[in-house]
């Protein structure tokens, strides 16, 4: 191995329309877009399932419980292959899916895979958050005549949401890290672009050093945003749930 040479990033790629650095930044953009979309899916679905885990209805609790078991215990890579290779073969409309832009196919499969996988984890955090609230909160809200949905909407979820910001932060970071798996179905996100760079330039150290730094920057940005969220939603005088 020769001395580190970072000039390689400024060289044009073989097709000439950008530099190698441009490739990396395109990969970064895909990683961010994919993770953000997957996170949105996970947050919405996970919150809903987390609520299901705590309602009186046995059927809803069982559905959410089964979901968590399945999606948490099948390896992410296997889930990705199922979404990308198997699902389009067996669901109606799969043929149409296979005719859309290949990039979009990869992106959608990745987004649902990551989103649904992470939803199982968010679900468990939301459940834990709701269960950690003082048991009296639910009764206090119901006793005022609020319906069960209103109780969740106005009393339980706002407080549970605040409590679980720290664990959700690490789930957010996991989404970004897990998104690297999607390079296996050909999605050109950050890790895939790094590998492509090595293939074209044979500069493995420089390439993966750059990829590492970009992941760390993403990490720092997420932490910063989540810390802001935590500060913004802090409740004056509230010292944990106790009881």
């Amino acid at each position: 191995m020769g001395p580190l040479d970072f000039h390689v990033f400024l060289q044009p790629v073989p097709t000439g329309e950008t530099t190698y650095l441009g490739w990396l930044l395109q990969g970064l953009r895909t990683t961010v877009l994919l993770s953000a979309c997957a996170w949105a899916v996970a947050l919405v679905l996970g919150s809903l399932l987390g609520v299901f885990r705590t309602v009186p209805s046995r059927a809803l609790r069982a559905i959410a419980g089964a979901y968590v078991e399945v999606f948490r215990n099948v390896p992410l890579l296997v889930q990705l292959f199922i979404w990308y290779f198997v699902v389009p073969e067996i669901v109606p409309g799969g043929e149409r899916f296979k005719q859309i832009d290949p990039w979009l196919q990869q992106f959608l499969a990745s987004m649902f895979c990551l989103g649904l996988f992470t939803a199982a984890r968010v679900c468990e955090q939301v459940r834990a958050g709701i269960e950690s609230l003082a048991r009296g909160q639910r009764n206090a809200a119901l006793a005022l005549g609020l319906t069960l949905p209103q109780t969740y909407r106005h009393v339980l979820l706002p407080m549970a949401g605040r409590i679980i910001v720290p664990p959700l932060t690490s789930e957010t970071l996991n989404v970004f890290k897990n998104s690297a798996v999607c390079s296996t179905i050909g999605l050109l996100e950050l890790t895939a672009q790094g590998r492509q760079l090595v293939d074209y330039t044979a500069r493995a150290y420089e390439s993966f050093l750059a990829v590492t730094v970009l992941y760390l920057l993403l990490n720092a940005a997420v932490l910063l945003i989540m810390r802001k969220v935590e500060a913004r939603t802090r409740v004056p005088g509230y010292l944990g749930s106790g009881r």
Binding site: N139, G145, Y238
Partner: protein, 242 residues
């Protein structure tokens, strides 16, 4: 106004209420007491349907609580309830704790709800704390807010479950004073409490429970003068020593 008829209630296979019956007339104040685990909390939770019952009947203002067609949220809005641990909503300011159910349950407009809330905060002496969060108040203040929160819905009766037993001694009276004033204003109340001074002052009747049964149900003066059962006598002598 509230009639409880032969109510049986179990958690799983354990029966915690075994045939409880009593009547509460409009404007009456009933104090419920008894040893720990005797079913006092369970009994009043059944009154507003927070706990389902297995048999018997509870009728509040002509409406059967357990009936399938009863709109429980609507009924609960008319029955105020105050808990041992206050259970204010920690993320909402005091004023919003008082307006939430007014707006969402009664459909009052914001200004109307706030006006009602402020007049109740005046009544419990906490107007200047309207914009604080519950966590910034003392226990006694929080419990007074909780009472105001229930009163904001203009309930026809109030249920209290040991409202002062989680409070430091120096804060008990500020809460009891609010409750005494409420009783004097003619509010129908069922109060689970071990504050016998309060009971003597405002209760019309004392209900004494033991192991899921109402073993004594007597006018206040009679109960304190001469409890009929040994259990009640023992309980009283123990509690009055403190």
């Amino acid at each position: 106004m509230i009639s409880i008829r032969d109510v049986h209630k179990s958690y799983g296979t354990v029966e915690v209420l075994s045939g409880c019956s009593t009547e509460v007339k409009k404007g009456e104040v009933i104090v419920v007491c008894g040893p720990s685990g005797s079913g006092k909390s369970t009994l009043i939770k059944c009154v507003n349907g927070l706990e389902p019952i297995q048999s018997g009947e509870i009728v509040v203002d002509g409406i059967s609580v357990a009936a399938r067609r009863t709109n429980l949220p609507k009924l609960r809005a008319r029955v105020g309830m105050v808990f041992q641990h206050f259970d204010l909503f920690p993320h909402l300011k005091v004023i919003d704790n008082l307006t939430l159910a007014q707006r969402k349950v009664l459909g009052r407009r914001e200004e109307e709800a706030r006006a009602r809330a402020f007049s109740l905060l005046d009544r419990v002496g906490l107007r200047e704390h309207a914009h604080k969060h519950p966590g910034e108040l003392s226990g006694g203040q929080q419990q007074r807010v909780a009472i105001a929160r229930s009163l904001a819905l203009d309930p026809i009766c109030m249920l209290f479950d040991e409202p002062t037993s989680a409070l430091d001694p120096e804060m008990i009276n500020e809460v009891l004073d609010v409750m005494v004033a409420l009783a004097r204003d003619g509010m129908t109340m069922i109060v689970v409490t071990h504050e016998m001074g309060f009971a003597r002052r405002v209760a019309h009747r004392i209900v004494f429970m033991d192991r899921g049964k109402i073993v004594e149900d007597a006018p206040t003066a009679d109960f304190f003068a001469a409890p009929k059962t040994d259990r009640a006598r023992q309980f009283l002598s123990k509690i009055l020593q403190h």
